[in-house]
């Protein structure tokens, strides 16, 4: 065994401070008394996801079979105007702000 091995394998041991156990148990007690963390609502999220998938499926199947509704040209025209305005006024920035605003509102609503 060379010097390197000898030093690596004979590292001196340290003792925890006298109050260490009490300190750990105090932290554990606080942890035990703390209310359990809110679980993610998997059940609701699952139902919501399934409903969205179903809706999307229905839309994909049903839409091509229907004739173009009367309101569709007006809506696409309006969207076209909005997109032109956005592209002139820094669309990515505005879109990011809108998305942030919507997600912040949704988060506040979900937690509050």
């Amino acid at each position: 065994m060379d010097d390197l091995e000898r030093i690596l394998s004979s590292e001196p041991m340290i003792d925890p401070a006298p109050g260490f156990t009490a300190q750990v148990m105090e932290a554990v007690r606080r942890e035990a008394e703390a209310p359990p963390a809110l679980a993610f609502p998997w059940w609701r999220a699952g139902i919501g996801g399934a409903a969205m998938a179903l809706l999307l499926g229905v839309a994909i199947i049903a839409l091509p079979q229907q004739a173009e509704p009367a309101w569709l040209p007006a809506v696409t025209g309006a969207l076209d105007v909005v997109s032109r305005i956005l592209s002139k006024a820094g669309a990515p920035l505005i879109a990011a702000l809108l998305i942030s605003l919507v997600s912040a509102r949704l988060s506040l609503r979900a937690t509050g």
Binding site: D3, I14, D15, F20, V24
Partner: protein, 212 residues
């Protein structure tokens, strides 16, 4: 000669048997305490803390080299274990699980709060030829080795730290790292190689130490 060997082997074998028995006792104690804590007896967790606090604080200390910080890190691990105790399935020994959780936490913490790493080249004594001929004190040699281990790439440092922490038990180091033994062995080999190259010509692996 043979007689002496036999008498020498006697206490050694007895010591080994006693150590095995102590390990079995500790494992049985852990299992009982885990069941008690999961059943709601939080006081049983204190026995787990008392049993494992010294190894955990020492392992943390090897990562951060700061006594106070090592105790904080060990405390965080105990709280983490307390929270996760219900998920411990008992497939492996409690100590294996505990060290895997601890090593994972200490590695993550050391990534966030890296200890001050002074490059070996910056240690003036190493450049002094007189120190490379055996004048360096044992404490200085240890410090040089510690610093060079701290400056290893993380994957090699973890393998070296845990292998020597577990008294050169490759299986224990592998279990704590959650890696196959072959991978840990390869990292260990590479880590020691880097250390030897870094320390070549210094008082640790230089001419003075090679004589010893």
């Amino acid at each position: 000669m043979e007689e002496r060997e036999e008498t020498a082997a006697g206490p050694a074998a007895a010591g080994e048997a006693a150590s095995d028995a102590a390990e079995v006792d500790a494992a049985a104690g852990d299992a009982a305490d885990v069941r008690a804590v999961v059943a709601g007896d939080h006081a049983a967790f204190e026995r787990i803390v008392r049993r494992w606090q010294t190894p955990l604080v020492n392992l943390a200390f090897r990562y951060c080299r700061d006594r106070g910080r090592a105790e904080e890190m060990a405390q965080d691990v105990f709280v983490k274990l307390f929270r996760a105790l219900a998920t411990y399935r008992g497939d492996s020994r409690f100590s294996t699980w505990l060290f895997a959780v601890a090593a994972n936490h200490f590695r993550a913490q050391s990534r966030r709060h890296s200890p001050e790493q002074v490059p070996l080249e910056a240690i003036a004594e190493l450049q002094d030829p007189s120190t490379a001929h055996g004048v360096l004190e044992e404490a200085d040699r240890r410090e040089i080795v510690r610093r060079s281990v701290s400056s290893l790439p993380r994957r090699y440092r973890d393998a070296v730290l845990l292998f020597y922490f577990f008294d050169m038990d490759l299986a224990a180091a592998s279990a704590a790292l959650g890696l196959p033994e072959g991978t840990v062995k390869a990292r260990l080999h590479r880590g020691r190689g880097i250390l030897r190259r870094k320390l070549a010509g210094t008082a640790v692996t230089g001419p003075a130490s090679q004589k010893a």
